[in-house]
Point group: C2
DNA sequence: TGGTGCTACCTTGTGACGCATGGAACCCCG
DNA sequence: CGGGGTTCCATGCGTCACAAGGTAGCACCA
């Protein structure tokens, strides 16, 4: 068991995850269960326990809105759409992320470096 | 006061900070107060309240070692050096960071995009 | 009818960690 | 002796990813 290594990515996800969700929503509405599987494929989301509280926060802060729709098979789905505030927040985040990423890259050694 | 925007970067720093410290230490030993001012310049560290617990963790996990040295002005300084484990952890992190960064970049819109 | 399994929603509790705050000690200068 | 810079540290808070667990609808099969 290597708790340190195992949780590095978990820590990295902090803060970026909600904006990744906003980014996905910028083109089309999605529902939570769908998002888990989609973003899970890229390794960004791991479980529903992450996405539901996250979406609640985004709703609370007015960055997304939701509408209920019937499912062809199963319980009804709550679809999320980006609001104008959400779109603005996403734009602002991309700026911050870019700056932050550059700072980190400037400090870290390149992959091909050996020391 | 804009709590959400203000704390975005705080969340981003999570997980990366300790490895940025390791990265700085890979070339020369440093002491905490010095690190705060250095990494503070690039916006990665904001206060001593961050760096001291962080260094304690790194020491506890054997990623760094420390030696006391006299200061020309003030109390003695605790200088930190990278251990072999620390160097390995840094290498592993760079790999994880690179992967993660790519995943995020793939989801986020480019800066020049307008949608 | 009852069982199994998938979909889809949600809540609660835990742990990690950045940061604010505050304290202590050392030093120099006036 | 007092003030300010340096340098160490500990305590408590808030945020958030995640695990674990709970409910309900639908489908299929025996």
């Amino acid at each position: 068991m290597e708790p340190r290594v195992a949780r590095v990515v978990t820590q990295l996800r902090r803060g970026t995850l909600e904006y990744c969700v906003l980014a996905v929503l910028r083109h089309e509405q999605r529902y939570a269960f769908d998002l888990v599987q989609d973003l899970g494929r890229t390794g960004l989301v791991t479980s529903e326990g992450t996405i539901y509280p996250l979406l609640s926060r985004l709703r609370r802060d007015g960055l997304v809105e939701s509408t209920w729709e019937e499912s062809p098979s199963g319980p009804p789905r709550r679809y999320y759409q980006l609001t104008a505030d959400g779109r603005a927040a996403l734009t602002a985040f991309v700026q911050e992320w870019t700056t932050f990423r550059s700072s980190v890259d400037a400090v870290l050694p390149d992959l091909e470096d050996r020391g």
